[in-house]
């Protein structure tokens, strides 16, 4: 088992290596450079050229690459050009923001989606069912960012009910512990900070939840319908069991199995939407880091984001393979 794991780990190294070369080459091939991005509007072409020299950008590409590789291997992913903070620190700060938003969005999607899907299946073919299906189809057709813009316009700007952007009010005095704005307030007893953070979460989470919600409604509906057709339900009904007992004990429990597996890892889907939602609500999570990084050509930041994402991806796949190997010993030898 250990040998298998080690072998797979070693196999992942060339993948990551090739990827780092690609990312490096791509970023160098883009016009405009870190020196231009770092110096402001008052910089002259001479001062930019001089800075490029200092940065070592006039060296041959392969040398630049080895320097970059060396720094990366020693855990130094560089500092962001926009904020001058170490990129890893930035990502560490942004990660809780994205997780917080995604979790709440997923919660909304699950807590609304399962009942809706269940009811829809119960009233199959009736008006409620048709309306729900239509709603899910329409939900997917509305661009996430436009939904966010409309929500913000109506509930924040016009009605003034909810905050339009960011994770907390500016004048909230919050102690940072974990980086999760809601959690920190609970840990330190600053309940107003937690309440404020939750209040800020409402609009972006609703916007982000729209697509997962539609997906969950449809899966729940489909799997409830499948279960309703199963023999044991018919038997239960025939036996004269109380309808509510049948529903909760048999239908729902069995139908939720496929739903929960889907829900469990819908974060992938959320991440795509998060880039748009975070831009609309100036959220400051990974999505904001990415879109801001693209716009301002923050090379160290983009480099780190892509490589980390790839690293996580490779790692997850590796874990999946290893878990398969544990379940099925034949995989190990193949």
């Amino acid at each position: 088992m250990l040998r298998f794991t080690i072998r797979r780990l070693l196999q992942a190294i060339p993948t990551l290596f090739v990827l780092s070369v690609l990312v490096f080459a791509w970023l160098r091939s883009l016009p405009g450079g870190p020196a231009t991005a770092l110096l402001g509007d008052k910089a002259t072409p001479e001062s930019i050229a001089s800075l490029e020299k200092i940065m070592g950008l006039d060296q041959p590409l392969y040398l630049q690459y080895f320097n970059f590789l060396g720094r990366m291997l020693s855990g130094d992913m560089g500092n962001s050009i926009i904020s001058a903070d170490p990129v890893l620190e930035e990502i560490g700060r942004a990660l809780p923001a994205t997780i917080e938003l995604s979790v709440v969005a997923l919660l909304i999607a699950v807590l609304l989606g399962i009942p809706l899907g269940y009811l829809s299946a119960s009233y199959r073919g009736r008006f409620f069912d048709n309306a729900t299906i239509m709603g899910t189809l329409a939900g997917v057709a509305v661009p996430v960012f436009f939904l966010g813009i409309v929500l913000k316009y109506v509930f924040a700007q016009e009605l003034g009910l909810l905050p339009p952007s960011s994770r907390q009010d500016a004048d909230i005095d919050a102690t940072r512990v974990t980086g999760f704005a809601t959690l920190d307030g609970m840990l330190t007893g600053e309940w107003d900070a937690t309440g404020n953070a939750l209040w800020h979460l409402v609009l972006p989470a609703i916007a982000l939840s729209s697509i997962p919600l539609a997906v969950i409604v449809r899966i729940t509906r489909a799997s409830v319908l499948d279960v309703l057709n199963e023999d044991f339900i018919r038997t239960a009904n025939a036996k004269g069991l109380q309808a509510t007992v049948v529903r909760t004990r048999h239908v729902l429990r069995n139908a939720l199995l496929p739903v929960s597996t889907t829900v469990g890892l819908q974060t992938g889907l959320l991440l795509g939407g998060a880039v748009l939602t975070e831009k609309v609500f100036v959220w400051g999570g990974l999505g904001s880091l990415l879109s801001e990084g693209i716009q301002r050509r923050d090379y160290p930041r983009l480099q780190a984001l892509i490589l980390l994402a790839a690293g996580v991806y490779v790692l997850v796949n590796l874990l999946v393979d290893i878990s398969y190997a544990i379940i099925d010993p034949r995989v190990r030898t193949s």
Binding site: V140, F146, T262, T267, L269, V275, L276
Partner: protein, 308 residues
């Protein structure tokens, strides 16, 4: 991400299985009775007709700045409807209504070209994998799985960001690449499903060449699922293209009339003239909805399970 990937795969595979088992006439009859399908078809038809005839339908030149509109145009106020200008001015002193109509062309082009592009490459990969099998199949499917496992919008953003600057082409490529793995898996799946079907087995028994079987029997029979998927892909392509525009990854030329660009440009004028954002957005939503409705009901009509 595994289960999401599994779900994506399952959706595609279910569709693939319906290949060759459906009778077109039967499916059509069922569609015609389904109000959802009819709604979708009407929207799609209207959209296609509109984009073809837009230049003749537009009351004004969509690219011209009209003195009547420029008269009252300021940085912070945009003229509303007035005689001859149904929806008033856009932020440039051009006829907003005409631009809205003509923009349907570009949006259709982006959707169609991206879908054709993605579909063609995807089908080539899927077809090769399905027809050749063996290690080619394993390799190609492994690659498509990798693409499939990345969230589609994130993939499109990354690809569009790869380009040094946004243009129509980069948007189309980004949106197309996202649909490649879906089409690949679809075609391969439907070909595999047919491998053991009676007509293919009969043809093989008669000694018909593999190439002929693939081109004469398998491919035509896979057409149904491919059309369904193409319809659905068109909807997502249009939305994804608009999202890329919003992120500033599209073509920034303000002369172009395209809904995604109009929507993203109007962000600065939300308080000046909300319609500038609203109408392009509604257009995108309605068209995407139309394609989705049509695609979903087609899928249902082709689904063998529903024929019981």
């Amino acid at each position: 991400m595994t289960s999401l990937l599994d779900r994506k795969k399952k959706r595609v595979d279910d569709l693939a299985e319906s290949a060759g088992t459906s009778l077109a006439a039967d499916a059509f009859r069922r569609m015609a009775r389904n109000p959802v399908a009819v709604t979708g078809a009407v929207i799609v038809l209207a959209f296609v007709l509109l984009s073809i005839f837009a230049p003749w339908l537009a009351p004004k030149d969509p690219f011209l700045r009209y003195p009547e509109l420029l008269e009252n145009l300021r940085a912070d106020s945009i003229p509303g409807p007035q005689p001859g200008f149904l929806l008033g001015s856009d932020e440039f002193g051009r006829d907003f209504f005409s631009r809205l109509l003509v923009a349907s062309q570009q949006s259709l082009v982006v959707g169609v070209v991206a879908t054709l592009f993605g579909g063609a490459i995807g089908m080539l990969i899927g077809g090769l994998a399905g027809a050749l099998g063996g290690w080619v199949d394993t390799l190609l499917m492994r690659l498509t799985d990798i693409l499939l496992s990345v969230p589609s919008l994130l993939l499109a953003i990354s690809i569009a960001a790869l380009a040094s600057r946004g243009s129509q082409t980069t948007v189309i490529i980004a949106v197309a690449v996202v649909s490649v793995p879906i089409f690949a898996r679809l075609l391969r799946g439907s070909m595999l499903a047919q491998r053991h079907s009676d007509h293919v087995l009969a043809a093989t028994a008669l000694g018909v060449k593999r190439r002929t079987i693939v081109f004469r029997h398998m491919l035509p029979n896979s057409l149904g699922p491919v059309i369904v998927q193409a319809t659905l892909t068109l909807a997502t392509s249009i939305i994804e293209a608009a999202s890329l525009s919003f992120l500033g990854l599209g073509d920034p030329d303000p002369n172009r009339a395209e809904w995604g660009l109009m929507l993203s440009k109007s962000q600065s004028y939300i308080d000046v003239k909300f319609e500038l954002a609203l109408y392009p957005a509604l257009a995108i939503i309605v068209v995407a909805l139309g394609f989705t409705l049509l695609g979903e009901s087609l899928r249902e009509a082709l689904d063998p399970k529903n024929r019981r």
